[in-house]
């Protein structure tokens, strides 16, 4: 029977087009981009060989250090925030709202599908101080606090960005983790309750270890997304004030298209790729070790 399912011509017809498009649009450009990292120039003016100059520039460029630091700081804070908020929501759904949670789940999930550019602009206006005092500053004024210029300093802009990203995605992680929590068998929880575990102790010793696998895949997914942050940031702060909220993704974009330096842009893209792979690998290793311990 495997004669039919092993028909090589059919495999070629079915898989060929997808593999071809994928190779031409993704695999070949990836390797090509590696080559660009050793050049200087752009599409219009042509490329010239540049040796490892881009790499030594990468090591000493203060803007790269700033961007790398911002990327990592942002990824860590948002990942922790997203997954923690999502986990608390998932606990709320499973242990407090129970079967009635469907409506709340659906409502809290929906910002996930909204265009990030629109959300960025919305939050920009929501937190603005001029020309109109936005809702957040009005609220502060109402309780007697002076308006804050949220986009005037790096620290404040960073926190608005964090709040926005957690607002946008906590419903997503809640549903993801909810799926992991409802998989915990009722008998396990029931017998733990009979043994006297309740509240925080029940969560810490029973629920948390049992939901660790899905918690870890949430972390991996979140890290992978936050390291690549671009749309929301461009719409909210545009990288400013100055370049204080510029991550690697945006710095690569500016280097390539504002300053037309494709060679150095490719080098930054390569750094970003290496960071993504390394961080994912580390999180993966840590989660493996913890799993065998738990």
């Amino acid at each position: 029977m495997h004669r039919v399912l092993g028909d090589r011509r059919a495999v070629a017809v079915l898989l060929g087009p997808a593999l071809l498009v994928y190779s031409l649009i993704m695999l070949v450009p990836m390797l090509w981009s590696l080559g660009y990292a050793f050049t200087k120039g752009n599409t219009i003016d042509g490329f010239t060989g540049n040796g490892v100059a881009n790499f030594s520039r990468l090591l000493t460029d203060p803007a790269v250090h700033q961007a790398l630091w911002f990327t990592l700081k942002y990824a860590v804070v948002v990942t922790v925030g997203q997954v923690a908020a999502g986990y608390l929501l998932a606990l709320l759904y499973v242990f407090f709202l129970k079967k009635a949670s469907a409506l709340v789940r659906t409502l809290v999930f929906f910002p996930v599908v909204l265009p990030t550019v629109a959300v960025g602009l919305l939050f920009q206006k929501f937190f603005q101080v001029a020309p109109q005092t936005g809702p957040v500053n009005s609220l502060l004024n109402a309780v007697g606090i002076e308006s804050v210029d949220w986009f005037g300093s790096a620290g404040h802009a960073f926190w608005v960005l964090i709040i926005m990203d957690i607002w946008r995605s906590m419903g997503f992680y809640a549903v993801l983790l909810f799926a992991g929590l409802v998989d915990i068998p009722d008998e396990v929880l029931e017998s733990a309750r009979l043994d006297g575990a309740s509240g925080l102790r029940l969560i810490r010793h029973i629920v948390l270890p049992l939901s660790l696998p899905v918690l870890m895949s949430s972390v991996i997914f979140s890290v992978n997304g936050t390291l690549k942050v671009f749309d929301s940031l461009v719409a909210l702060t545009g990288g400013g004030p100055g370049n204080s909220t510029t991550p690697l993704t945006l710095y690569m974009f500016q280097t390539s298209f504002t300053y037309s330096d494709y060679g150095y842009g490719s080098t930054i893209a390569l750094l970003l790729t290496v960071v993504c792979l390394m961080v994912t690998l580390v999180v993966f290793r840590v989660s493996r070790r913890d799993l065998t311990k738990g």
Partner: protein, 305 residues
């Protein structure tokens, strides 16, 4: 706040149902009542936090400039300026941008689904050497950031004379959408027994026919789910659209919205908010009708990816 009352009643209803679902026959009623109130309060705050920014945005989109600048941000519009929407659509070119987005996203989506389903079938149902390695090759594409492919593609499109059309977007969207789609389709095909196709081929259908008229109807739910996930990814994309649309007439809705203030003069707040609303409520509409599928699809892709 206008939303406050309906939200509170909604959460009260949820709270009421929770109470009925609660464990009966336990002592300490006072503590349980306290807990119920606490849960209700948390849910109410949560819903206000999630929904109010959107309500505020919608109300602001109906204000005139004068209304926006000189009245409290909490107030209702003094006049309901529906003309903001037509201004955004025509003078603000949002109509054109929506058309561009549709022209770029829909063909890519069709290609992604067709090629992805076929590849998933070939990788999961058919039996040949090297298929797990090929699947891994596709997986690599999920992790690598798009920044890695932008510059070479820009060169190719430029030299092929495709700049100034929507083709760069369609091609790039198709290529970047494939890895996750192939992976998800292969996972869905896992639950379809091979015997189904063996029986079909005994009845004289070729394997290509078996893919088209037997496997596709079986996994059509999965195709719809993956299609929704990819639709949101492509529709909300900014990076690729920003790179390949140099021409103002080719802007997608996200690029257009980002540049909206610049084109319009910074003072037209009503049309700007109307443009954001058009963008947001478009995707919201899709979500309202298909939310269970969207939730399942997006989170499913995360766990497996």
């Amino acid at each position: 706040m206008a939303v406050d009352t309906p939200l509170k009643t909604a959460s009260a209803r949820i709270g009421g149902r929770t109470a009925r679902n609660g464990r009966p026959g336990r002592p300490r009623h006072g503590r349980r009542l306290g807990r119920r109130l606490w849960v209700k309060a948390v849910v109410a705050v949560l819903l206000v936090v999630e929904v109010y920014p959107l309500v505020w945005m919608f109300l602001t989109s109906l204000k005139s400039n004068d209304d926006y600048l000189n009245h409290s941000t909490w107030s209702l519009p003094t006049h309901w300026e529906w003309s903001n929407y037509s201004a955004a659509w025509t003078t603000g070119h949002i109509g054109l941008y929506v058309r561009n987005s549709l022209l770029a996203v829909l063909p890519s989506l069709a290609l992604i689904l067709l090629l992805g389903a076929a590849a998933g079938f070939a990788l999961q149902i058919m039996v040949w050497k090297g298929r797990s390695l090929t699947l891994l090759l596709f997986l690599a594409g999920i992790m690598v950031p798009s920044q890695m492919i932008l510059l070479p593609l820009f060169t190719v499109y430029f030299q092929a004379g495709l700049s100034g059309t929507l083709w760069p977007l369609i091609l790039t969207y198709t290529g970047t959408g494939l890895p996750l789609t192939v992976f998800m389709m292969a996972t869905y095909y896992k639950s379809v027994p091979r015997e189904l196709f063996e029986a079909a081929t005994i009845d004289g259908a070729g394997i290509l026919r078996a893919f088209w008229s037997i496997s596709l109807p079986v996994v059509r739910n999965a195709v719809l789910t993956v299609g929704l996930v990819q639709f949101f990814f492509l529709w909300n994309d900014l990076l690729i659209a920003l790179t390949f649309t140099n021409d103002q007439d080719l802007r997608t809705i996200q690029v257009g919205l980002l540049n909206f203030t610049g084109d319009f003069g910074a003072t037209q707040y009503g049309p700007l908010f109307a443009a954001i609303c058009i963008n947001v409520f478009g995707t919201l509409l899709v979500y309202l009708f298909l939310n269970q599928k969207v939730m399942k699809g997006l989170t499913g892709g995360a766990v497996k990816g």
